[in-house]
């Protein structure tokens, strides 16, 4: 089954390009279908009792060394959902048929990369798939011209920063792989785990380098500079995809994977994670507070939320990984929804400058309502999904006796709430500016995904103990 998760999207790309040009209009829907299948497959494979061993013959043909666990399932589920949302947004906001075609293809390529990240068992393959995702995303940012007029040179600048820092991160990761080759003799997770268990400083230098590389990829403080530019520069559907899953998978999920499968419970690197996490939360939140471009605020909010995941990894290991995984999922859902909302607003208003807005809520009630749900969830207010994952993160920290960091995590939620309230106030509330008197609600094509995501957030929040039991019952 896990092989299929990589091969099917790949074959879909091949098939799409073999089709005659006239049939290319269907590309978006084909890739939508593939993403839906992937999400369903990831879900079935990990979280239900349906037997999926019918595909073992594939493993004898292809010698991929993969292993999927609950974490990978969660990431692939996110990737599928976020990808579908991005495609729906692309259908509305990209104007050119050729652009849509390329978008569909590149999303599929990136999806293979993300699924690869989710399932690999060695450091180098991890690097390869991170790179696949990065290159596909990079092309996505630069390729589209839709709305480029309003973004001007930003496209170039954001993309440039992204690719340069991405290569620098690669250099860090490859150097680290070299060190592991020297000190562990191999680069599979198991070998690395053994080497980390043995005394020796070289291995820890290597691990620190690899983590630094991932910090860059995930946009964590102090390497967060590129992220807001890249998100702002990207066209609407690409920023949905990037914010929803790409950065998270290639930076944060990879981190999660490495911590969970190579570091034991004795974790000398824990302090690094705690400090970086806390710093990221606070710095990201305050940067978000000062933004007036909606996408930039959301981007810094992402930075801040990624900090929570890293912080969770520094806590009690088992609970921390569970909490981090859940926060990963919740945040992917809510943030892709917010970027989709931003896309709807940009589509209707032609601007993302929050100072020019005001009173949009009365004109676009669905967008306003779903935005409220997503922001409150991210700010960690019950009974929405975000509250529970934050609670688990704080519990993980508390169990590890990191009281100070737990308090930081809780109180930073207040800053999160503050900037999201300011967003609500500036965008949706207040008297409607005469300029927007005739603004209409976004097209149904854009509303369907955001409403669906908001419902997921609410349902997961209300039924959380049940969902948690499903997760735990599977033996995480």
């Amino acid at each position: 089954m896990s092989h299929l998760l990589l091969l099917v999207p790949f074959l879909a790309v091949v098939v799409l390009n073999l089709l005659p040009k006239r049939a290319r209009g269907a590309a978006l829907w084909v890739s939508f279908g593939v993403l839906g299948l992937e999400a369903a497959a990831a879900f079935v494979e990990r979280f239900s009792s349906i037997d999926s061993s019918a595909f073992t013959w594939l493993e004898s043909v292809f010698g991929f060394r993969l292993a999927a666990d609950h974490l990978s399932g969660l990431a692939m589920l996110c990737a599928g959902i976020v990808g579908m949302v991005a495609l729906l947004v692309a259908r509305r906001t990209l104007k050119d048929a050729g652009e849509k075609f390329f978008f569909a293809n590149l999303v599929l390529v990136a999806l293979v990369g993300i699924n690869g990240i989710a399932m690999v068992r060695d450091l180098f393959s991890l690097y390869v798939f991170v790179e696949v995702t990065a290159i596909a995303t990079f092309i996505l940012i630069t390729a589209s011209r839709s709305g480029a007029a309003s973004r001007g040179e930003q496209v170039f600048e954001g993309a440039w920063k992204y690719i340069i820092l991405s290569v620098v991160a690669s250099v860090l990761m490859l150097t680290s792989i070299g060190f592991f080759l020297l000190s562990a003799g191999d680069i599979t997770f198991d070998a690395v785990k053994t080497a980390l268990g043995a005394p020796g400083s070289l291995t820890w230098v290597a691990m620190a380098l690899f983590l630094c590389g991932l910090f860059v990829k995930g946009g964590l403080v102090p390497f967060h500079g590129w992220l807001a530019d890249a998100y702002t520069a990207a066209p609407a559907p690409v920023s949905v995809f990037m914010a929803g899953i790409v950065t998270k998978a290639s930076g944060i999920f990879a981190l999660l994977r490495i911590v969970s499968s190579t570091m034991g419970s004795a974790l000398p690197g824990r302090e690094i994670l705690l400090v970086v996490g806390a710093l990221t939360i606070v710095v990201g939140a305050f940067l978000a507070l000062g933004q007036s471009n909606m996408k930039r605020m959301l981007a810094y909010s992402s930075v801040s939320q990624m900090g929570y995941i890293v912080l969770a990894l520094g806590g009690d290991l088992n609970l921390g990984i569970l909490a981090a995984g859940l926060h990963f999922f919740n945040h992917a859902i809510s943030k892709s929804q917010l970027f989709a909302n931003a896309a709807a607003i940009e589509e209707q208003l032609g601007t993302l400058n929050m100072d020019e807005m005001g009173g949009i809520g009365a004109r676009m009630p669905v967008t306003a309502g779903t935005t409220a749900v997503a922001t409150l969830s991210i700010a960690g207010l019950p009974p929405l999904a975000g509250f529970w994952s934050k609670l688990l993160i704080v519990l993980a920290l508390w169990n590890a006796k990191e009281y100070g960091f737990a308090a930081v995590a809780i109180l930073a939620s207040l800053v999160t709430l503050a900037y999201f309230l300011s967003l609500q106030r500036r965008v949706f509330f207040g008297k409607t500016h005469p300029k927007w008197a005739h603004v209409k609600e976004a097209a149904p094509g854009l509303l369907v995904p955001v409403v669906a995501l908001a419902l997921i957030t609410i349902a997961l929040g209300v039924g959380f103990p049940f969902a948690l039991r499903v997760l735990l019952g599977g033996g995480a």
Partner: protein, 164 residues
């Protein structure tokens, strides 16, 4: 050992030249030279296949790309280039000194390094490793090439539109 050290010194010098020379074209050539020297180093360490790759792809293909980019973008007026040269000098003169300092500093380090010397029994021929153990990476390579093709297509198409 001596030969290897000399070779590496030349390698670093080539890289230094590539980063310090004024004309972009020469910098690209310097990079090609660096690549070629690196290939020689690889060869003498026994990494034959990788050396061939390095020589053909990096020293060859990448240089072609760089040279064509450079020639396509050389339209700057002479004055600007001259002004640029002066400011370049300011920014680059410390580099050789820094490199020497780093080299000297590191040559005093003799700390023990724990290297896991495995018996190379499981480490067979590079082709076997690549095709049977690293299949996943090959799959990744294919994907990246695919993405690269898309990139070229997209960027090329963009130019065509732009010229209209």
């Amino acid at each position: 050992m001596i030969w290897m050290t000399l070779l590496l010194v030349v390698l670093v010098l080539a890289a230094l030249w590539a980063s310090m020379t004024t004309a972009l074209l020469r910098a690209a050539l310097g990079l090609a030279l660096t690549s070629a020297l690196l290939a020689v180093v690889m060869f003498s360490m026994g990494a034959t296949l990788a050396a061939v790759m390095e020589l053909s792809v990096c020293a060859g293909l990448i240089s072609v790309v760089l040279v064509s980019v450079t020639s396509l973008t050389q339209r700057r007026p002479l004055k600007e280039a001259l002004a640029n040269r002066r400011s370049r000098l300011r920014r680059y003169w410390p580099l050789p000194l820094v490199l020497i300092a780093v080299g000297v500093a590191l040559s005093f380090v003799h700390a023990p390094v724990e290297i896991a010397l495995r018996v190379p029994a499981g480490d067979g021929d590079v082709r076997t490793v690549l095709w049977s153990l690293r299949q996943l990476d090959l799959f990744g390579q294919i994907l990246i090439l695919l993405a690269g093709v898309f990139g070229v297509l997209v960027l090329f198409r963009k130019e065509a539109k732009h010229d209209d």
